[in-house]
């Protein structure tokens, strides 16, 4: 993988060359039509941007030239100077020098000397005549034309490419399976080759869509400053893991969520400086944005060292909002109570503030993360702070899934939502309050037959009976929002990477399915949506 430095440099080069091209174009236009304002404004803007970029990258000489050029263009714009006579020559020469400097940066060579140019620019500012050497007066006819090494591409085009690759992968799997069924060695070897090529193509397209998390994180210092000012709080933001890469569309989807979480952290998490001093904390609150890689997933954390989440307050609020009854609420563990924060209609803010109370709650964040098969977790210690963790797939295209069989058809569940799989004898399951319970890793987990869950009407599920279960039961333990649920299926099949196609209209109204995938044998396989299954179970449990 390329280093961040190198990537930034390539982006700088691409932009700088583009600026240089635009400058050459605009100054020629200005020469033909000295009264025209538009090219002048453009030149001013381009010089300004180039100055900022060059200084940020540490190319101070280039920054200085751009700065002085900007000054002159500013003077011409404010009509203090006219674009005529000797100024023209100096400015044309200046843009050539800028071009030469950019080229030198690109080739890792020493930057050309710009002393005489800088002096001339200085003289112009003072209203003196520039001293042009013969060399500077001579038109440089040895100039080279060059094209940038980077291309800008619309994300739409990459989306299309990714969709096509998805289709290709499905067909590839089909051909591969056919090859094995037919047993023709030539076909098999061609299929194996196709398999590898398609794989590589898929990863290349996925790679082309990756962007640094930093491209989003770097927008936050400003956000934090503004929110902190409005809330009268002092906040220090630390950012890490900017060079972790993630699919651009995933970053797009989480943008609002991250903004919401950061605003929350400052609005609800961090206390005022006075409160912090009283609590024995430094007056400046800490908010951290961190990205890290965990297995195939990208973790993004928003952490604050503020007041933390008061579990008891959440518990009573959930009861008063009618989300749970008082009895159930009392028996919930702290993590389960915190998970209630993600329920629709739950908002902890006592009063609606400009920053945090926009009528969208954490449930919206949760839905956004769910929509791409990610997870949202919250950890908190009262008085110490809160951490929200977003577990995101690196790419939207391919997802790990567990395939299983139910009523002779294949279904898939995303691995992201699966805790574990177990096979239990009926004796190992107990009926409590009409519900099956299994002990999994020391915790009682409700278990339900997926068949009953899918085929139930609007009425509650029938009371469970272990007598109806025959033989070992294959159970998939899914986890959503801290709730574990066991689903009895007919048979586990295998683990596989799948390409999910969204459900087409009008069937997309059924939210139980996150989409469909096509298996190697051409069969259509429904991908079950764990959040929706959990909701159905909660609504219908006996």
């Amino acid at each position: 993988m390329r280093s961040r430095e190198q990537e930034y440099r390539e982006i700088f080069m691409a932009e700088a060359l583009e600026y240089y091209d635009a400058m050459s174009r605009h100054i020629s236009e200005l020469e033909k039509n000295p009264q025209s304002e538009q090219p002048l404004n453009e030149l001013f803007r381009l010089m300004h941007n180039l100055k900022a970029n060059a200084r940020a990258m540490g190319y101070m000489d280039l920054g200085e030239v751009a700065h002085r050029m900007e000054t002159i263009f500013g003077l011409i714009r404010s009509k203090e100077k006219a674009f005529s006579g000797s100024i023209t020559g100096v400015l044309f020469g200046g843009i050539d020098t800028i071009g030469a400097m950019i080229r030198a940066i690109g080739e890792n060579q020493e930057l050309p000397n710009a002393e005489s140019l800088l002096e001339n620019l200085e003289r112009l500012v003072r209203g003196e005549e520039p001293i042009l050497t013969d060399e500077e007066v001579a038109v440089d006819d040895s100039r080279k034309l060059e094209l940038s090494d980077l291309v800008y591409i619309q994300i739409k085009k990459l989306d299309h490419l990714l969709n096509l690759v998805g289709e290709l992968i499905i067909d590839r799997d089909r051909i591969f399976t056919l090859g094995q069924e037919i047993g023709n060695p030539a076909l098999q070897s061609a299929a194996a080759h196709l398999f590898r090529i398609a794989d590589e193509l898929q990863y290349s397209v996925m790679d082309a869509r990756l962007v640094n998390v930093g491209s989003l994180f770097n927008k936050f210092p400003r956000v934090v400053r503004d929110v902190a000012t409005t809330e009268h709080k002092e906040v220090n933001l630390s950012i890490s893991g900017q060079d972790i890469q993630i699919d651009r569309n995933i970053l797009q989807i989480i943008t609002d969520s991250l903004l919401h979480l950061v605003r929350n952290a400052i609005g609800h998490g961090i206390e005022t400086p006075e409160e912090r001093i009283k609590a024995g904390k430094p007056p400046v609150g800490e908010v951290a944005l961190e990205a890290a890689i965990e297995r195939d997933d990208v973790l993004i954390q928003v952490r604050d060292d503020g007041r933390g989440i008061d579990v008891e307050k959440v518990r009573s609020k959930a009861v008063s909002r009618g989300l749970v009854n008082a009895q159930t609420a009392a028996s919930l563990s702290a993590p389960a109570v915190r998970a209630l924060l993600f329920e629709p209609g739950f908002s902890m803010a006592e009063e609606v503030t400009e920053i945090s109370g926009r009528g969208v709650g954490l449930d919206v964040v949760k839905l956004a993360i769910d929509s791409m098969g990610g997870q949202l977790r919250v950890d908190s210690e009262l008085g110490k702070g809160t951490t929200f963790t977003l577990v995101l797939p690196t790419s939207i295209a391919v997802k790990g899934a567990l395939l299983f069989e139910l009523e002779e058809r294949s279904y898939a569940l995303l691995l992201m939502h699966i805790d574990s799989v177990v096979s239990l004898w009926p004796e190992e399951l107990h009926v409590v309050g009409g519900m099956l319970l299994a002990e999994v890793q020391g915790e009682n987990v409700p278990v339900v037959g997926l068949r009953q869950l899918l085929h139930s009407g609007d009425e509650p599920l029938a009371s469970a009976d272990t007598e109806e279960l025959i033989g070992r039961q294959d159970i998939i333990i899914v986890n959503y929002n801290n709730r574990r649920l066991g689903l009895i299926v007919d048979r586990f099949l295998r683990q596989q990477n799948i390409v999910i196609k969204p459900m087409t209209q009008p069937l997309d109204k059924i939210d139980l399915f996150g989409g469909v995938t096509l298996l190697g044998n051409g069969q259509v396989c429904l991908v079950l949506d764990v959040p929706a299954l959990t909701r159905v179970f909660l609504a219908k449990r006996p």
Partner: protein
């Protein structure tokens, strides 16, 4: 359409415009769909049943990479008289372009194309209002060589709400707010 209505009265000498239908059998009667609404006719592909859908939605199938819903109109209009379920025998599927999606209609016999003059299609008589196939889905009745073909208006028949017979349910309300 306008042309032919006035044309019918004047008994035109010029050859009358033809309408092409794809004709198929549902129950005991023949039905037709305008050919421009039919994307293709194919042997019914493997159908994956889909829980939580009305019984006449047979499921979804892969049609050249498109995932489409397959519906059974015999079941939709209660036209089946003790015959076996369509899923047990070889059947054909008409892929129909409806609104912004494609939908498959499963039929037992090979659908046939048929050209007939536009004037052969008459408006549906009133009595059909009481039948199972509500009048609003019927564009007209075609009489041709002593055959009677019921011409369906697929655009009305295949709206998302018609297909899903959607009743908002509590459990899905949160999910719907996502879009």
């Amino acid at each position: 359409m306008v042309q032919t209505e006035s044309g019918g009265e004047r008994k035109p000498i010029v050859q009358e415009a033809l309408v092409q239908l794809i004709v198929f059998r549902l129950g005991t009667e023949e039905y037709g769909v305008r050919i421009e609404q039919v994307k293709e006719v194919t042997i019914t592909p493997d159908i994956a049943r889909m829980p939580k859908t009305p019984a006449f939605v047979k499921g979804i199938a892969n049609l050249r990479g498109d995932i489409i819903a397959i519906i059974d109109l015999e079941e939709r209009f209660s036209l089946r008289r003790g015959k076996a379920d369509v899923s047990t025998s070889l059947t054909y599927t008409l892929a129909i372009e409806a609104h912004d999606y494609t939908i498959g209609i499963v039929v037992r016999e090979v659908p046939q194309p048929l050209s007939l003059p536009v004037s052969a299609i008459e408006r549906a008589p009133e009595f059909l209002q009481d039948s199972n196939i509500q009048e609003k889905y019927i564009e007209g009745i075609a009489r041709f060589d002593s055959r009677i073909i019921i011409v369906l208006d697929m655009m009305k028949l295949l709206t998302p709400s018609e297909i899903m017979q959607l009743n908002p349910r509590a459990e899905s309300s949160t999910a719907r707010s996502r879009t």
